[in-house]
């Protein structure tokens, strides 16, 4: 519990309207896109970097926990105030400070919504590729903190690949800048990279300098249907092996197709077992050539059908198939665990086969779709929490799925991070020495463990042993 004195101090820092303690406000900042909920003691909405710094100084002196939060669209509970404390919402810091068309960089505040930023740079003929499916509502600060990725990662990389520099408030309240505005820079440790994906445990991001690209002239979307998942997977490696890097290579397995087909007729032929949504972008002439070449390459791989969009409206119709996946899943079962494992590209069919076996063994539906281009698979374990025993079964299945990904030289999270949800499994992937190194960093930057405590590392191992 926070004392009245601390609440008064907080009000002094950010203004009384920007400190909330009504139960209603606490409820509204106690959830995210996981189904977990923890109530904070107060919600604070700072309006400047200095205010963030003052809040953290106070927290560090009075030793109360602070949980940074963007849009609260995280899938692993990273912004949840487990154990109580202050939720620090950064969405008032929402200005695009500058877009430099000469140096192709932009400086933004963390509360800017990703899609708004994309639209603003595109108006100037520039391009910010990272596109998490949550881009219409998630914040750039949250994207950096989670190192978010999306379908375009195959070609362009993840959020981290576009972050050139940061302004960060450290847990002690000091304001530092990392990286900068130059493409090169090798002075000191690369703190920028360390902070990307740090899930709000090492500092609060208050400004971001992004690298931009020229906006590709055009894009072309194709929906390709295969008679086996192996065919679809082989198509991915064949296309890339032939030196074409599409913007997106999204796949849906048979379970996913059945799921969507139940509600929306997709016109998938009976012998269609897997779908690949392929998009290429670039100069108009080039993408025409690439589309033709891709068709030639994948034809012998059990291609059942190939639909090519002629214009933006048709392209949107093809993407709709992919977008319908999420709403259709509820028809399978009301609750889901959405995991986002990654394996090397060529191992996608192997891991799908293992998952099928796990599904049979535990007798719970598992639906797979995702970014085949980078081997990132969204494994959806569908259960009904009201059926006794199902949740436990799901957890066991998930542990086996993670192990399967690791056995194939993969990882247990490609974009959602660890947060609270994946904490119990972190030891499957990280060896004690790795965890100790990470905890030493945490300890050095946050000696009192006030910033987003209890995240990433299982509780009890929060700090390195003294």
């Amino acid at each position: 519990m926070l004392s009245q004195k601390i609440l008064d101090e907080l009000k002094k820092i950010v203004g009384p309207d920007n400190v909330a303690t009504d139960r209603q406000d606490l409820i509204c900042y106690g959830y995210d896109a996981t189904q977990m909920e923890f109530l904070p003691d107060a919600v604070v909405h700072p309006g400047s970097t200095d205010e963030v710094a003052a809040v953290l100084k106070l927290a560090n002196a009075a030793k109360f926990p602070v949980f940074p939060r963007g849009a609260g669209s995280g899938f692993t509970g990273g912004a949840l105030p487990k154990g109580g404390g202050v939720v620090l919402v950064v969405t008032r810091l929402n200005r695009i400070l500058r877009i430099d068309t000469e140096n192709l960089i932009a400086e933004v505040e963390p509360g800017v919504v990703t899609e708004q930023f994309q639209q603003e740079v595109e108006k100037l003929g520039l391009f910010y590729p990272p596109d998490p499916a949550s881009l219409k509502f998630s914040t750039l600060g949250g994207n950096v903190a989670e190192n978010a990725g999306g379908p375009r990662c195959v070609k362009y990389g993840v959020t981290r690949d576009f972050v050139m520099g940061l302004e960060v408030v450290l847990p002690t309240g000091e304001i530092i800048r990392t990286g900068g505005e130059t493409y090169k820079g090798v002075v000191g440790y690369d703190l920028t990279r360390l902070l990307c994906g740090s899930e709000g445990t090492l500092g609060v991001i208050t400004k971001i300098i992004f690298k931009l690209l020229p906006l590709p002239e055009a894009k072309k979307t194709m929906l390709t249907i295969f008679d086996s998942i192996d065919g679809a997977a082989k198509a991915v490696s064949t296309i890339i092996g032939n030196k074409i890097i599409p913007t997106t290579l999204e796949f849906m397995d048979y379970a996913t197709l059945q799921c969507v087909n139940k509600r929306f007729s997709l016109g998938i032929p009976d012998n269609g077992r897997a779908v690949l949504l392929i998009e290429v972008d670039g100069d108009r002439d080039l993408i025409e050539k690439q589309a033709t070449r891709i068709q030639e390459l994948i034809k012998p791989l059990g291609l059942v059908e190939c639909k090519i969009a002629k214009d933006a409206a048709e392209s949107e119709a093809l993407w709709k198939v992919r977008r319908l996946v999420s709403p259709s899943l509820r028809d399978v079962n009301p609750d889901k665990f959405n995991e986002d494992i990654v394996v090397p590209r060529s191992k996608v069919p192997d891991v799908i086969r293992v998952i099928e076996k796990i599904q049979q063994r535990y007798d719970i539906p598992i639906v797979n779709f995702g970014h085949a281009g980078d081997g990132n698979i969204h494994v959806n374990v569908m259960i009904d929490k009201s059926v006794p025993g199902q949740e436990e079964k799901a957890h066991k299945a998930i542990a086996e799925i993670f192990q399967a990904a690791l056995d194939l030289n993969g990882t247990m999270s490609g974009e959602h991070g660890v947060g609270l949800a994946k904490q119990p499994y972190i030891h499957l992937e990280l060896k004690p020495a790795q965890v100790a190194a990470m905890q030493a960093i945490k300890q050095a930057l946050d000696p009192n463990n006030i910033l987003n405590p209890g995240k990433m590392f299982p509780v009890g191992q929060q700090c390195a042993p003294e």
Binding site: Q24, C28, R92, S134, P327
Partner: protein, 429 residues
């Protein structure tokens, strides 16, 4: 105690809807209330979370709950875009009902609150009259939803209000206007705004459907659709109005029940069956039958194959189109545009954010006039930017809000109903 039971019953009824929300946050991108207030209790996800906690009984119907629930325009954007179809608009109405049961007059300090807190149709009208005074409403019957649209804080303020019609639309025509044999029979649900403020919209509707040979029936004893009451959570009054309207609409055999007001259409088509039908099973089947027959005027003209070139000649004019929320959320967006595009002399220029709410939102603009204005400001700017001489839309409520906004911007852009554009020649001859 009685109210408490009633409230928990009402909330229980929407329990399964509440469970559908997975807190993904997608509604943050689409909620105009959130866009102006910027904090989570104002967004659909927050309101749903609060309703869930109300049901659990771990928050009270106090000021903070009231404040969150008041920040909703009932625009339905969240429902339309929610991957799980969570009906936040209906959830908010039920929560508002609970609030008005619990807190009655004192919390609902505005005039609308006082009006809708009076249960019976009689008292409801009397309260309205008392509060609003004679200056503006002498000609408006006491049961009219118009009184809810213009509560006291508006009248006399800086707000621009359309003048009242010399003769209300319902008093101008006989109840049945026969058409050609074999052509559709249409019952026209007029709505308060058209009846009292924009009778020219009714005239345009009448001219167009007569042009197509339809029989048009305008039941005299139709009432306000009740949406302003719904918006305030006065579902008892809405039930009374719904029953009265059922009687009026069922009196004649008809192929269609037609509205030229998006708000009334939303009430008849969606809110009656979902909100009133569910709590009054005895009415459910009848409400469903009315809902199934309810069509929007533009949707019906499109379906019946109106040829705008026969009807719409006039001066060359550049027009932009605003999507009323209660048409957009029923997927009626292409029909009005196609009709307008087909009209000779019309150049249709799309505005940025045509699908964004105008900011009226039932009682929202009463409680949150400043925010309503802020939403409206973006709309006005988008309209002006198109360089259009007129903005067309399909809802008299939006017409009022758009005119107010444009006038406050010193703009001379005209506000018209889609039907007025289409019936230009018919009305001239």
């Amino acid at each position: 105690m009685e109210n408490k039971n009633k409230n928990s019953e009402a909330l229980k009824r929407i329990e399964s809807e509440l469970k559908k929300c997975v807190k993904c946050g997608a509604c943050r991108a689409h909620c105009p209330a959130f866009a102006t207030f910027g904090k989570e209790p104002a967004v659909a996800r927050g309101k749903v979370a609060l309703a869930q906690h109300l049901l659990k009984g771990d928050i009270e119907l106090d000021d903070a709950t009231y404040s969150a629930m008041s920040k909703c325009l009932l625009c339905g954007s969240c429902v339309e875009k929610c991957p799980n179809n969570v009906p936040t608009d209906e959830i908010v109405m039920v929560a508002r009902e609970a609030l008005s049961n619990q807190r009655g007059l004192t919390t609902f300090h505005s005039a609308v609150g006082r009006v809708i807190a009076n249960r019976s149709l009689m008292k409801f009208g009397a309260a309205a009259a008392r509060i609003l005074g004679p200056l503006f409403f002498r000609k408006v019957p006491e049961t009219s939803g118009l009184r809810l649209r213009f509560p006291l804080p508006f009248v006399g303020g800086k707000r621009h209000i359309p003048p009242l019609a010399k003769k209300p639309f319902l008093e101008r025509h006989p109840e049945v206007i026969p058409g050609e044999p074999g052509k559709p029979r249409i019952v026209y649900f007029v709505g308060c705004m058209t009846n009292f403020c924009y009778p020219q919209v009714g005239e345009a509707a009448l001219a167009l459907f007569r042009h197509l040979g339809c029989t048009v029936i305008i039941p005299k004893n139709q009432q306000c659709c009740g949406l302003p009451g719904m918006s305030g959570g006065d579902l008892d009054t809405v039930r009374e109005l719904a029953e009265a309207n059922l009687a009026a609409l069922e009196k004649y055999e008809a192929d269609y029940i037609m509205t030229a007001c998006a708000t009334c259409g939303g009430a008849l088509h969606k809110f009656y069956p979902n909100l009133i039908g569910k709590r009054h099973p005895a009415l459910a089947a009848r409400l469903k039958a009315v809902a199934d027959k309810t069509v929007d005027a533009a949707q019906l003209l499109h379906k019946l194959g109106l040829k705008p070139e026969e009807t719409g000649a006039g001066n060359e004019v550049r027009i932009t189109y605003h999507d009323p929320c209660h048409l957009r959320t029923r997927a009626i967006t292409s029909q009005p545009r196609e009709l307008l595009r087909g009209a000779p002399g019309i150049e249709l220029a799309e505005m940025e954010g045509a699908d964004k709410c105008c900011g009226l939102g039932g009682t929202f603009n009463v409680y949150h006039y400043e925010s309503s204005l802020a939403i409206n400001k973006m709309k006005s700017a988008a309209i002006i930017k198109t360089g259009a001489q007129a903005v067309a839309t399909g809802c008299p409520g939006c017409m009022m809000q758009l005119s107010d906004g444009l006038k406050q911007h010193g703009s001379s852009v005209q506000v018209v109903h889609t039907l007025q554009v289409l019936a230009r020649r018919l009305l001239k001859s």
